[in-house]
């Protein structure tokens, strides 16, 4: 074996690259596919890095900005929709700039696999006028993030770094780059004209930024990660991000290729060198037709006689992920349009594979024993036959929308359930409007909505599903857990105390696994007006694993399947005619026992 390589996930590669670049501040908010970056920084922290899960992305961006003002290399991490939350500080920070290098990682999620939108951080780069780095693989990301830090520091601007899911969650054999020698942060140097944003300075900064970006376009034409693979054909491919990897798998011999690693500012001179000898170009990219638009502008501006194809022309699909297969098909159609028109028709006529048995769909579900199931069921039972609307939010509990629970009527974005419920109720006051929100989401962006309700006298039943963790993204601590990302003990911020402080007078706290108590609490909370809060407190089963489990007493069971129809718990299965509980999945939450009309389910001790 040659040099020592390690198998590293893309997100960890980004973290290790940032550490080698001398990062001293790392702040973020969890969000798939970005979460593991900050966790990996914490894991490899030698004690010199301030690492924190900030309360949300806006807070992370601002904490990061402060550190970068003081001259420290700073990393801020989030997913693409998190960048929306952080966009207020970001837009202004783009004008102000930084002193220490500041890299903002915003991970995009084509598909989307785990997100609300298919938005494109590269487009955010154009909007905010910030440079964007777009890696194609974990090993490239590891080196590129160091270059992004140097670039940021050299031009005193924050830069965006945009991996996508297939870079974040892929692993590769990586040889770690040498650690950079970075001097200690200088500290904050007062300078009103520089650090205080004013209309007058913003006007001047705007001029400066436009001038700088024009110059950066020239500089980036020489950046080694923007490059041309020469070919002899008159038809070429332009690509970037993970689509570059798919393209290299299938690129026919002799086809020229342009790889774009900095989609903004676009390396125009390099693109002109590539386009000038070609007749036709196909752009392969995910999300927005970002590269395609840039090429169209360049071809127009420079009067280049080249046709540019991609999403805008219908040559590639305009939503969802690319794959080696999709890219292969796109390239074949592009290179041999006549032949492929025929084979496409044939393919459409060909019968879908003959005898494949019907396969079950496996939508994500709440885990067996998940306390959210109990909470939703309690509310459902309490409100049976009454007019009620259930606004949900972002987290595992969005899965409460699935049948048979069917308890999430709206879901928009972080914290929106609390406020949407208020708007719904204002127009339809005879309904009881519930807003479900998880503990981490409550801290991230739920509190403002509660203040809004109390202040405006809006009527809602707030249901806080407190499972003592940020579950969906892999169990990160948050302000209510009493722990930090570094494992240190922290002040434990109390949700009922916050609610009382805001002025919520009716607060019911209970364990959702105690079904009767939970149903009664909801019934009481549903009465009256103003903000009423129910706090369902029970830890996530993945965090505090139970030793208990339940069992169906076969001699008592009447096979009515009420437990299955009411709860949809993955541990309750049918075997032939009979109902059984899978002991490996069951946590003994006992909700099925409460639901069974014949007392046929009981708790047993089961140690493996």
């Amino acid at each position: 074996m040659s040099s020592k390589k390690i198998l590293v996930m893309g997100n960890e590669a980004i973290a290790l690259g940032a550490i080698r670049a001398g990062v001293r501040m790392a702040a973020g908010y969890p969000g798939t596919p970005s979460t593991e970056i900050l966790e990996a920084i914490a894991k490899h922290n030698d004690g010199r890095i301030h690492v924190e899960w900030s309360v949300n992305e806006k807070a992370a961006m601002e904490v990061g900005a402060g550190a970068a003002y003081a001259g420290a290399r700073t990393l801020v991490t989030m997913k693409q929709v998190g960048l929306n939350v952080a966009s207020d500080p970001l837009m202004s920070l783009a004008y102000i700039g930084v002193k220490g290098g500041m890299v903002i990682v915003s991970a995009d999620d084509p598909g989307p696999i785990s997100s609300q939108t298919e938005q494109d951080t590269r487009t955010f780069g154009v909007f905010s006028k910030l440079p964007v780095f777009d890696p194609s693989s974990p090993e490239e990301a590891c080196e590129m993030i160091g270059e992004a830090f140097e670039f940021s520091e050299k031009y005193q601007t924050p830069v965006l770094f945009r991996p996508t899911t297939r870079v974040c969650h892929a692993c590769a054999s990586i040889e770690l780059p040498e650690a950079m020698q970075i001097s200690e942060p200088e500290g904050f140097v007062k300078d009103t004209m520089r650090w205080v944003i004013f209309p007058r300075t913003s006007y001047l900064n705007h001029i400066r930024i436009e001038k700088r970006n024009a110059k950066l376009s020239e500089t980036l034409s020489e950046y080694k990660r923007n490059f041309i693979l020469e070919g002899d054909k008159k038809k070429g491919i332009v690509t970037g991000g993970i689509s570059y990897a798919y393209t290299r798998e299938v690129l026919p011999e002799g086809t020229p290729l342009l790889k774009i690693s900095t989609p903004h500012p676009f390396p125009e001179e390099l693109a002109v060198r590539f386009l000038k000898d070609l007749d036709e170009v196909l752009v392969l990219e995910e999300l927005d037709p970002m590269i395609e638009r840039q090429l169209l502008q360049i071809a127009g501006r420079r009067h280049l006689p080249v046709n540019i194809y991609g999403k805008l022309t219908g040559h590639t699909k305009n939503a969802g992920e690319n794959s080696t297969e999709s890219v292969r098909a796109d390239i074949e159609r592009f290179l041999n349009p006549a032949e492929n028109a025929v084979s496409d028709e044939l393919a459409a006529d060909a019968p879908a594979s003959d005898d494949i048995p019907e396969l079950p769909v496996r939508p994500p579900v709440l885990c067996a024993g998940c306390p959210h199931r109990a909470s939703f069921y309690a509310v459902k039972k309490a409100m049976k036959g009454k007019k009620a609307v259930f606004s949900g939010d972002i987290g595992c509990y969005t899965l409460g929308n699935a049948k048979p629970l069917d308890m999430v009527d709206t879901c928009l974005c972080m914290g929106a359930g609390v406020t949407i419920a208020q708007g719904l109720h204002a127009i339809e006051p005879d309904a009881v409007n519930f807003a479900f929100i998880g503990d981490s989401t409550f801290f991230a962006s739920g509190i403002t909505g509660v203040v809004n309700a109390v202040y405006n006298g809006n009527d809602i039943v707030l249901v806080v599903l407190d499972n003592s963790t940020t579950a969906m993204t892999g169990h990160q601590p948050h302000p209510g857990t009493g722990k930090t990302i570094m494992g240190d003990v922290a002040a434990k911020i109390s949700i009922p105390a916050i609610l009382r402080g805001i002025g919520v007078e009716r607060i019911y706290e209970c364990d959702p696994l105690n079904l009767n108590e939970a149903v009664n609490a909801v019934r009481e909370a549903a009465q009256g007006s103003g903000v009423r809060a129910v706090i369902f407190r029970s830890p996530c089963i993945a965090v505090s694993r139970s030793e208990k489990c339940c069992e169906v007493k076969q001699e008592t069971c009447r096979k009515c399947k009420v437990c299955i129809r009411e709860l949809g718990c993955p541990a309750i299965v049918t075997e032939g005619d009979s109902v059984k509980i899978d002991a490996t999945l069951c946590c003994g939450c006992g909700i099925c026992a409460s639901v069974c009309p014949f007392d046929a389910i009981g708790e047993v001790n089961c140690h493996e």
Partner: protein, 195 residues
């Protein structure tokens, strides 16, 4: 050596760890490796697929359709779902059991293990069906299916990784108190793989 391996199952079965162990073993032999994993919302009881690619000039982290040398299936129906990835003459190693999703328990369709294994027998060029139930019972844990499947794969030779190399990868990556259990599972898997 270029090898592509697809691992498929249901969230929570240990698919990710198995893919990492294959990559680790390949890297110990000096090969470049890539993997791609399912993380996030899809893990909650959803179909899970891990890709492992070993060798030179590999760009995509995912195995292209029709090019898997081996499919390691932790669930028979997931093997059927992933069969388009198998290359001609590729090998499928699958647990013969199925895991019923909630949707099936709620009354959707007749999902049967026999139908799945029947389809695999008909369509996979080379197939090893593993009795995961018996292996887990004999090993004394329901959590060792992943390592047992690795044992079968190593025994078959289809990954270019020997049983000894796989054993080494298990020893170096599994928590100390679980090593003996996993060694046993690996051996049971090797027997299932034709030792």
């Amino acid at each position: 050596m270029n090898k592509n391996c697809l691992l498929c199952g249901v969230g929570g079965q240990g698919v990710v760890l198995a893919s990492r162990l294959i990559a680790y073993a390949a890297m110990e032999k000096g090969y470049f490796a890539r993997t791609a994993e399912t993380i996030g919302m899809a893990q909650r009881g959803g179909s899970v697929v891990s890709h492992v690619r070993i060798g030179e000039r590999i760009y995509s982290p995912q195995v292209p359709v029709g090019s898997a040398d081996v499919i390691l299936a932790f669930e028979a129906g997931e093997a059927v779902r992933c069969l388009p990835w198998l290359k001609k003459d590729g090998l499928v190693i699958a647990d013969r059991r199925i895991v019923k999703p909630v949707t099936a328990s709620l009354g959707g369709g007749n999902y049967s293990a026999e139908e799945m294994t029947g389809y695999l027998k008909k369509h996979a060029d080379r197939l090893i069906l593993v009795d995961g139930d018996a292996i887990c019972r004999e090993a004394g844990s329901s959590k060792v299916l992943n390592v047992a499947l690795l044992g079968a794969a190593a025994q078959s030779g289809a990954l270019g990784i020997t049983p000894e190399e796989m054993l080494d990868a298990v020893r170096k990556n599994v928590k100390e108190k679980y090593i003996a259990l996993n060694e046993k599972a690996l051996m049971l898997g090797r027997k299932a793989g034709g030792m």
